[in-house]
Each structure stands twice: as C-alpha cells, then as structure tokens.
C-alpha cells in the first residue's frame, strides 16, 4: 500500500511540476492521471498492490469532497441574496447537460455496444 501511495504521489508531483513549468490550464493531478494512464498502457496494466490501493481510495471518493463542501458556510450571505437565479441556473444546466451528453453519446454508439448489465443508477 505504501509503495502504491508513493507511486500516486510521484505522478501527482510530476503533474504539478509540468503544469507550473509549461503554464498549462489544467490541474496537476489531472495531468498526473493522464501520465499514469499512459504508463499503465506501456506496462500493460497495474500490479495488485496499485489496483487494491486505488480501489480503496476511490471507494470513498465522496469523503474527500466534504471539507471543501463545508466551505459553503463562508457564503451564506451571498447565497441568501442571489439564491433564486443561482440555484435555478445550477439545477437547469446540470440536468440539461447530463441529459444532452448521455443522449448524444448513446445515439452515436448505438449498434456497436455490448449490452450493459446491472441495474439502474
């Protein structure tokens, strides 16, 4: 587990250095994810240690957003003032963008799909 965590941090660090060095518009960890993905293609897949650590970390990805989400308490005043347009905009555009992208992708890949199993999301 420590070896796998070290590897993840090393890729994050490389990502951060590249983003700052090349002035890229995306965050370091996203670049690190792209680099690790390429490394996995070259290595033909992750080892058991890396796979298990990643699964463990991603199982509770929700937890990692809790501290940032609690920051909502800093903005109660602003939210009280512009509550209606902000929430309407978030609600309409979130549902709309889920629907539009899923319908479009679904229509384009129809035919060459292997039937998805599993129940509703």
């Amino acid at each position: 587990m420590i070896a796998a965590l070290t590897l993840l941090l090393v890729f994050q660090l490389i990502g951060e250095v590249l983003v700052r060095g090349l002035d890229l518009p995306i965050p370091g960890p996203v670049v690190g994810m792209g680099l690790l993905f390429m490394a996995l293609i070259i290595a033909k897949g992750p080892g058991d240690d890396l796979r298990n650590t990643a699964t463990g970390l991603l199982q509770h990805l929700s937890l990692l957003f809790v501290p940032a989400g609690t920051g909502v308490m800093l903005h109660f005043q602003r939210l009280a003032d512009e509550w209606v347009p902000l929430m309407a905009a978030v609600a309409v555009s979130t549902v709309l963008s889920i629907a539009v992208s899923a319908l479009l992708l679904n229509a384009m890949i129809k035919g060459k799909r292997n039937t998805a199993e599993g129940d509703a999301q």
């Binding site: 929700s62 501290p67 940032a68 903005h75 905009a89 555009s93 963008s97």
Partner: protein, 242 residues
C-alpha cells in the same frame, strides 16, 4: 460550562485532531445512512456529511478556517485520488478506444451546454454579471473552475460553492434523468454524470459500477481540459453580442 470541559475545548480547538475526526465521524454517519437507504441518490453522502458539519460548526461557533486546519488532511487526498482514477480508466481502455470519436464530439457539445445554459438561466432571472461569470465553469472540477472564473471576472470562492452544489445535484438527479430517457449503458451513464457533475458525480458513479466510474473519471478529466481551453474565448465573445 464546567471549567475542566472549557480547558479541554481550548486544547482541542488548537489541534487538527478535532476537525479531522469530526469530518470522518460525520462521513461515517452519512455513509451509514446511505447504506441503510440502499445507496439512494437523494441521501448523497457529501450532502449529508456537509449538513452535519455545518450544523456542528454553527452551533459551537467554530469558524471554517479552524475546522479546515484539521480537515485539510482529508482534502489533500483529492490529489492522489485523482491520479488513481487512471487505474479504472485503464480497465476500460478497449471500450474507450472503440468510441473515441463519439466521446470527443459529446465532450464539446456537453461542455458548452453546461456552461451556456447556466449563464443563460442566470441572465434571464437577473443575476449579477459577477455571479454569471462565477457560474459558467460550474461543471468543471474545483481547482480548474476557480481558475476559469477568475479569468472571466467572477468570484473564485463563489465558484467553489457552485461547483460543489452542481456535483451534489448531479449525483442526486442522474438516476432519474437516465430512467426518464431510458439510458441503461453504464459507460454512457458514467460519461454524462462525470461531464456534468465532475468528481462528486464520479464518486456516485463508482458506487454504482466500476465501468460507470471509469467513464465518469474520463469525462471529468477531459471536460476540465476542454472547458479551460474554450470558455475564456467563447463567453466574452457571447456577452458582447447581447
């Protein structure tokens, strides 16, 4: 208050232990509830845990920065967790290769839909210009969204809140949208929720299936890239038209 308890409180409020432990306990409670309800999307664990924490901090008069001194250790793990998304993504590599062009097209359309519909609705309802610019990148993962908002003349800290609200709303509503549209393919379901609702949507997708999670991670990463590259050009041009 009993003086002993007062002393203990003074001690606890100066160490990161309390903020960190509170975050984990609130999340455990939220997770327990979520499991009891068969992972029903309305009981989103981020939403419940945040509500519990805001309640506790408000009742005890603790300010957010004191809390974050402890919670930052959890927050830090977002970095390595984002890197770890490469592993489920690799597991979908064969399927991914087969649908590369549809994915890229969907990405461009979905990214524009998310940003422009948000700005459009806010404009119709009379939101301030600052709020509209803060809203535009709300479907993108937090650090990128804050950078984009700043460039557009929005408020980065307001953007952070709107990004989290978008993520929770996407995680809560996706199942109902997909049921209404009769979309069953977990790759498509994952891609839609990851594009519209970034990391919180991706977390929800992983709870449903590994395939949905991998495609959500892919959509989240690509949407961050494409929105960062296009929105700073498109939005100022559009606002000049109106």
């Amino acid at each position: 208050m009993n003086p002993d308890i007062g002393e203990i409180w003074v001690y606890l409020s100066t160490t990161p232990l309390l903020g960190l432990t509170l975050t984990l306990v609130a999340y455990q409670a939220a997770w327990w509830l979520y499991q009891r309800a068969d992972q029903h999307p309305l009981l989103n664990p981020v939403l419940i845990a945040v509500s519990i924490l805001v309640g506790i901090l408000w009742l005890t008069g603790t300010d957010y920065n004191t809390y974050f001194d402890g919670a930052q250790f959890v927050h830090f793990l977002l970095g390595p967790a984002t890197v770890a998304l490469a592993i489920p993504l690799y597991a979908q590599w064969q399927r991914l290769k087969a649908m590369l062009l549809p994915i890229l097209l969907t990405l461009v359309v979905g990214s524009l839909t998310a940003a422009l519909s948000a700005v459009g609705v806010a404009a119709l309802l009379g939101a301030s210009r600052e709020s509209m610019m803060s809203l535009a990148p709300k479907s993108v993962t937090t650090p990128v969204a804050m950078g984009i908002a700043e460039g557009l003349g929005g408020l980065p800290s307001l953007t952070a809140v709107l990004v989290i609200a978008t993520g929770i709303l996407g995680a809560v509503s996706a199942r109902f949208v997909y049921q209404a549209l009769r979309i069953d393919d977990h790759a498509v379901r994952g891609f839609g929720i990851g594009l519209a609702a970034h990391g919180i949507g991706t977390a929800r997708a992983f709870q449903v299936s590994e395939q949905a999670g991998a495609f959500a991670a892919l959509a989240m990463g690509l949407n961050a890239l494409i929105t960062a590259l296009t929105l700073p050009w498109i939005l100022p041009w559009l606002t000049r038209l109106f």
